[in-house]
Structures are given as C-alpha cells and as structure tokens.
C-alpha cells in the first residue's frame, strides 16, 4: 500500500554520517588535548563557556536570525496568501505550522530558523516575493519547511559550537598575547608559555578542520532539504526554476535564438569556472547550483517513470 516513488538516497546519507563522525572525532580529540594540556581543573570552566554558547544559540536562534535579517512576523490578515500556502504545505507534510515572517529587503532570500518545530519561524524577503511566481515561492517554502522538519538549526548548532569555541580560544590567546599576556614575568614562564602555545595550536587546528566539516555538513543538509522539499510538492523542476531565478543566473537559460546569437559567438568567452574541484566549493555553505539542479533533475526523472 504505502508505496513511494522515491528510493532513499543512501549516498547522501552516508556522506553526511561520515562528516558527522569526523566532526565528533575531532571534538573528542580536542577536549582530550585540552584536558591533557591544561589539567582537569580548567575543564569545568571550558565546559561552562561552551555550554553557555550552546544554550544561547540553541534557545535564541529564532530571535537572533529574525533580528539579523530584520524580519517582521506577519499575521494571516497581513499576508493571507503566504499563510495559506504554508498552511497547506504543513497539512501535506503533517507538521505544525511555523510562525511566518517577512523581511523588507530586495535580496531574494528565504530562511527557516528555530530550535524545533514548535519554535520555528519561516522568513521570506520582499525581494523573493516580488521575483518568484506562486508555484516557485511554494517550492522555496517547502524547501524551508524541510529544514524545519530536519531540525537543521539544532543539528548545525550542535555541530558547530565546539568549533566556535576553538575559534574563540584562538582569538582570545592572540589578543591576550598582543596585549602583554606573555610579557609578564613569571616563575614558570616558559612552561606556561608552552602550554598556552599548545592550546592555541590545537584550537587553531580544530577550528580550521571543524570549519571545513561544518560547511560540508551544511551543504549536505541543503541537498537534503532540496530533496525533501521537491518530493513534498511533487515538482522538482519548480524548485529548480526557483533556484535558478534566486541565484541570479537566469542568464544560463538563453532567451535568444541560437541562430541569431551564433555570429556573435566568437566574442564570447568560455566559462571561466572550470568544472571539478575548487577551493571555494570547500568553503561554501550551499552546494554549487549545478549540483542542486542535477539532484532535482534526477528526482524529476524518477517521477517520470511509469508505474
């Protein structure tokens, strides 16, 4: 009875598991190094600071993000169509309705935040409302609702907080050093200096590695949300169209007749970006557009198959 047209994407899941495993391993090693170098008397302090960060980020994520984007919560009276769209998507996906906000910005963007489904907020900018057609907007909303369903804020907060802490340690040590932290004359000065140096070094390495890993994790979560969102509305191509539009790369689909453009071809440059590995793809929070479009095309093909 309960058939689905979409087989699970084990490749995506296993890559995500590997990334999370590496992150976990990194953090365990980091804490172990801290304990070994500092001795266990500093451990409660470190954990307290880390816990404080985690608590703050976790419980205030919705307000922080809304404030940063200047999003205003809107009632069903103020934005009836947006609310209706979200109402229906939530009924389709069987999830509680998140709060809805609009940010007054011309940058086409949308985001979802909040630690769980009860505290979730979905925010869209006026720019995206203006640019996208209704089906495309719906596709974007279903992508954002998938982020909520996957509890991405909680997962990414947990994944990144020790990395943030490591970065904090590095920065504190650098400023501390610059403002005379190392200059004090001290009896066991050499020893302390070596210990601090070791902690800073370990933190720097952890920070760099966790940065790369959390970015990788974020890219996988985006792909997951694309996938779930496209399956929810049953129209992968609509989400692809919205992505292309939002990415400001509408130029990729030429509107001009090929024959008319041909004489001019000699003046066009080949695309400067070579396909394959590049440094920027390691640092990005979102996967390259092409990869997202490829995934959506595969889903569309799965939909096309006859039963």
């Amino acid at each position: 009875m309960a058939r689905t047209r979409f087989p699970a994407d084990f490749g995506l899941s296993s890559r995500m598991v590997l990334t999370m495993f590496l992150l976990g391993l990194l953090y365990v090693v980091f804490v172990a190094v801290l304990v070994a170098v500092l001795g266990s008397q500093y451990l409660p302090l470190v954990l307290l600071i880390a816990g404080g960060f985690l608590f703050f980020q976790y419980f205030f994520s919705d307000r922080i993000a809304l404030y940063a984007m200047r999003g205003q919560e809107v009632s069903p009276r103020q934005a009836p169509e947006l609310h209706q769209m979200i109402d229906r998507l939530c009924a389709l996906a069987d999830m509680p309705k998140p709060r809805v906000a609009i940010a007054d910005s011309d940058v086409p963007n949308a985001f979802a935040t909040g630690r769980d489904q009860k505290h979730a907020v979905v925010c869209v900018t006026t720019g995206i409302l203006r640019r996208l057609s209704e089906p495309e907007l719906e596709a974007v909303l279903s992508h954002e609702l998938s982020h909520v369903a996957h509890r991405d804020v909680a997962v990414m907060t947990l994944a990144s907080f020790l990395g943030i802490l490591a970065g904090f340690v590095v920065r504190a040590a650098i400023y501390g050093g610059a403002y005379g932290g190392f200059g004090r004359s001290n009896d066991n000065r050499d020893n302390t200096g070596a210990v601090i140096l070791l902690v800073v070094l370990a933190s720097a390495v952890v920070y760099a590695l966790s940065f790369l890993l959390t970015r990788a994790l974020s890219r996988y979560r985006e792909l997951s949300a694309d996938r779930a969102g496209a399956i929810l509305i049953g129209r992968p191509s609509t989400l692809a169209a919205a992505l292309v539009k939002v990415s400001g790369e509408m130029a990729r689909i030429p509107t001009r007749d090929l024959r008319a453009a041909e004489p001019l071809n000699a003046f066009f440059f080949a695309p400067a970006v070579a396909p394959g590995f590049s440094l920027s793809s390691l640092f990005a929070t979102h996967p390259p557009l092409q990869r997202r479009l490829d995934q959506l095309a595969r889903l569309e093909a799965q939909l096309g198959r006859q039963a």
Partner: protein, 200 residues
C-alpha cells in the same frame, strides 16, 4: 527513528491515513440531530498534482475510473485547479455514502500509483436545513460548515466560512463538541487551517 531521520536530514513523505474517512456517514446523522446541519450533497478531494509522466498516467486512469463510477451512481463530477496549484475533484450526489465511496476511489487510485503523499484533504459540505439545493447559499442567514478530513493526520475538523474570509468559530467549536465521540477530531486548533475560495 524520528531522531535518526532528523540527524540524517531525511523526512519520508507522509502516507495518507484512510481509516477514519468512512466514519463521516455516521457523523452526518449526529450532526443533523444535534446541530441541525445536513449534508449538501457535495464533497471534494484535494491533492497536489505532481509533475511528470507517472502522475499524468495516474490522472488519466483516475479520470476514467471516476467517470465510470459517476455514471453508475448518477452523480456529478467536476475537476478544478485552485489558485494555489492544488487539484479539486468535486463530486455531487445526494447520497452521502456514494460520495464517500467516490472519494475513496480518488485516494486509492492515487495511492496505487505511489502518489498517496500528494493527498491534502477531503471536504464534505454541510449546511443548515434551510435550503438544501445545490449551489451557493442564497439566504445569508444560512450557516455553512465543511467537514475537512486531513489525510496525513487521519482526523477531521470543522471549517465554517463566513463572508469576507472570516470563520464562524462558534459553530466550529459547537460541531467539535458534537462530533467528539463519532469522529477523531483534530485536537490541535493550529491545524484547523482555513480553505478560502474552494470550489464547493
């Protein structure tokens, strides 16, 4: 499993629950006795059409089956798309049981083709005993109340639209109290979403 799904960022499409749908015939009796609301002989199934040849084939088959069933039972059939991109199969038949059966035909056909998750809701129209003829209510005093079945939850909720996109909450709560024991009523009021401009 829910934790693991969240961790892996995969949400499975929610399958539709159909068990409670047939309870609507029994509930209609209660509604008429206790609240004076009668079925208007109209019902609709709403789903989100998917793209691709697979869904087109399913739609084609569904249309054929529906036309056949409608001809046999002597009811009417209308298929409309609303402005939010959802498709409504609107059925008209004075017999509520025939309506529920026809509604179920839509569900089962979609499900067989693997499109069960596309189902949004079913709506059964009820109104005051004032005028029971088809079509929009003529006298403004006539109360309308739809019974909406949420496929993903397996629950019903009342939706009583008034003029100017307002809801008659009093009537809705009264209906909820009436139906309490007959049907699984959606307990979270936040999920009683409004359906404006539906072709019913």
């Amino acid at each position: 499993m829910k934790f693991l799904d969240a961790l892996l960022g995969r949400s499975k499409p929610k399958q539709a629950k159909l068990d409670a749908l047939f309870g609507v015939t029994g509930a209609a009796v209660t509604l008429e006795v206790a609240a004076g609301l009668k079925p208007t002989g109209q019902a609709a199934v709403c789903f989100k059409p998917a793209s691709g040849q697979g869904f087109a084939a399913a739609s084609e088959e569904l249309r054929g089956l529906l036309e056949l069933a409608v001809k046999e039972a002597g009811s009417t059939l209308r298929i409309e798309d609303d402005r939010y991109g959802y498709r409504w199969v609107v059925l008209g038949d004075p017999d509520l049981e025939d309506l529920v059966t026809a509604t179920h035909l839509v569900n089962s056909t979609l499900e067989q083709h693997g499109f069960g998750p596309q189902l949004l809701c079913s709506v059964f129209a009820f109104a005051d005993a004032g005028g029971l003829e088809d079509g929009p209510p003529v006298n403004p005093g006539r109360r309308r109340c739809h019974l909406v079945y949420l496929y993903k939850r397996g629950t019903f909720y009342p939706f009583a639209p008034l003029e100017g996109e307002r809801r008659d909450n009093e009537l809705e709560l009264q209906v909820r109290a009436t139906l309490g024991s007959d049907l699984p009523v959606e307990p979270e009021l936040g999920r009683w979403f409004a359906l404006w401009g539906i072709p019913l």
